[in-house]
Symmetry: C2
Subunit: 309 residues, 2 copies
């Protein structure tokens, strides 16, 4: 029996929280002693999912080596998205659906990544392989993760596997997929209780593209009016963060989950590169990102391409 | 349908060749067009396995981007062990059982690693998951890979999974596991037709430990008399290679597969570190590596530990 902390990335979203809880449950079924923790406060969409399915919120940690020797990562592998002392612990498991970047180990490990919509979909397959039942409440948060990451199967990251697994999980969770999906996305898109800082930093990740430090945030909304009325406040948070982290670019992606399109807010040293990447014009820090809903598939690759030229 | 080249590491051993052939077969079953290739001449043990089970030898390549856009790696991930132009192709699949080091992608991918004895064991599980039958001849080379990597289940890298999968594959291949295992290991340990260069470089890999370039070769033998009679020739090859590649250390592990123990031959800038790593004395370039059979579990980790101090 090995003691594990299980966690997803900083600025936890629904997939990161759901997958940490679910993989900790899996490891416990396998005879280990695993605890899911979070690398940041849980608010908004993931908080709604945890409340809905009756989970306590995982506690928040910044470092792991002060507690354990062994850890399991879900929904991320890049060290800058992880605990601050990742190099001080042994990573025995990674379950992820992102590119691999900057991740190194000194020992062989269990690494399971697939290019599909959601980490929770990979976990569903693991439960099947190992013959573990998925309890009703875990099915509920796994389903929430899939709805969140695929925007109810509308994101281009969605695969047939995510759709089929979503259907199966909805049955186990005993919820109506379409009705719960819309309720959940709308709840996640309700920004009335969130500060400008929550909105900007809530799901932001830093990427190192060539030698440029690029931070990309994303927020799900319904309609652009409310969010644009808060534009100056959001830009002020972005600019403060840009200076604090010495970023080359801060790009905020505002995604209308019902219309499946986005606007961007951009602040940075050379915004002409952003205009080139998305073949658009930036006016008053705002750019159109028509049809863009996926940071991973539609935002990071075009930026990577222009920075790597 | 995507066109793939599938390959293992340079200086191909049985697991690398067997896994490349088997995973190419798997990808073809999945509707792709995949060809297994090798990153070096196939001689000795893997050649015996291919002959035994009636396979043509995969052709040898040095670069991939001149032929394909997409590749699949088996039995390795470290770029210096791979094609020279790995950064020019897109890695869509990795099936491996080593640590992850220096491996980066710009896109999400399918990555399956487990800390078990052999890549072929992981492939066996993949065939089960995806419902593909393993043909008799493929079962034969997969079994050979497991026997090779685990030294017929005696290496400390062996897991219960490797043992159970070995039994299953022996049934499909219709061979007696113990009898074939000994025949195969003895054939691989027959050095009479191999040059000193073949023996030294046949399974050598370069590792970057801290900032030191360390090359570690391994050869399977039966009894030490024959190999020690060739010591001066082997050391001459090692010294030439050390100068050519500007290595800090060249360590050759001579492993008696029936007695499960090794001697080492060492040439390098500071051999006192090697003495420390294995708590032994080096006399005339020879050191005792009592009970050592696994480069991955028993040679690399102690060297890593002293270099990282």
């Amino acid at each position: 029996m090995t003691k594990y902390l299980v966690f997803g990335h900083k600025n936890p979203d629904t997939d990161t929280i759901a997958s940490a809880l679910t993989f900790a449950y899996f490891l416990n079924q396998e005879g280990h002693e695993a605890e899911a923790v979070a690398l940041g406060e849980i608010t908004g969409e993931p908080a709604f999912a945890l409340d809905k399915f009756g989970f306590d919120y995982p506690r928040v940690i910044e470092t792991a080596a002060n507690e354990v020797v062994h850890v399991a990562l879900v929904d991320h592998n890049e060290p800058q998205q992880s605990v601050d002392d990742l190099d001080q612990v042994q990573v025995d498991y990674v379950i992820d659906h992102h590119r691999i970047s900057g991740f190194n180990t000194s020992q062989p490990l269990f690494y399971r990544a697939e290019p599909i919509g959601c980490t929770a979909s990979i976990l569903y397959k693991l439960f099947k392989e190992y013959g573990h039942e998925i309890p009703q409440n875990y099915a509920g948060i796994m389903l929430s993760a899939i709805i969140s990451d695929t925007l109810l199967f509308k994101s281009p990251t969605t695969t047939d596997q995510d759709k089929a697994i979503g259907q199966e999980l909805a049955k186990i969770a005993q919820v109506d997929l379409e009705a719960y999906g819309l309720e959940f996305l709308k709840a996640g898109a309700d920004l009335s209780k969130q500060t400008d800082e929550d909105i900007v930093e809530g799901d932001a990740k830093t990427f190192i593209l060539k030698d440029q430090h690029v931070r990309i945030g994303q927020v799900n909304i319904i309609g652009f009016d409310e969010i644009l009325s808060r534009k100056q406040g959001l830009l002020a948070v972005m600019e403060a963060k840009r200076q604090e982290l010495d970023l080359d670019l801060y790009l905020m992606v505002l995604t209308d989950v019902l219309e499946s399109t986005s606007l961007g807010l951009a602040i940075g040293r050379d915004l002409s590169l952003v205009e080139e990447a998305f073949d658009t014009k930036i006016e008053d820090q705002v750019l159109e990102l028509a049809g863009v809903v996926s940071r991973k598939k539609q935002v990071v690759p075009p930026l990577t391409a222009v920075y790597n030229r």
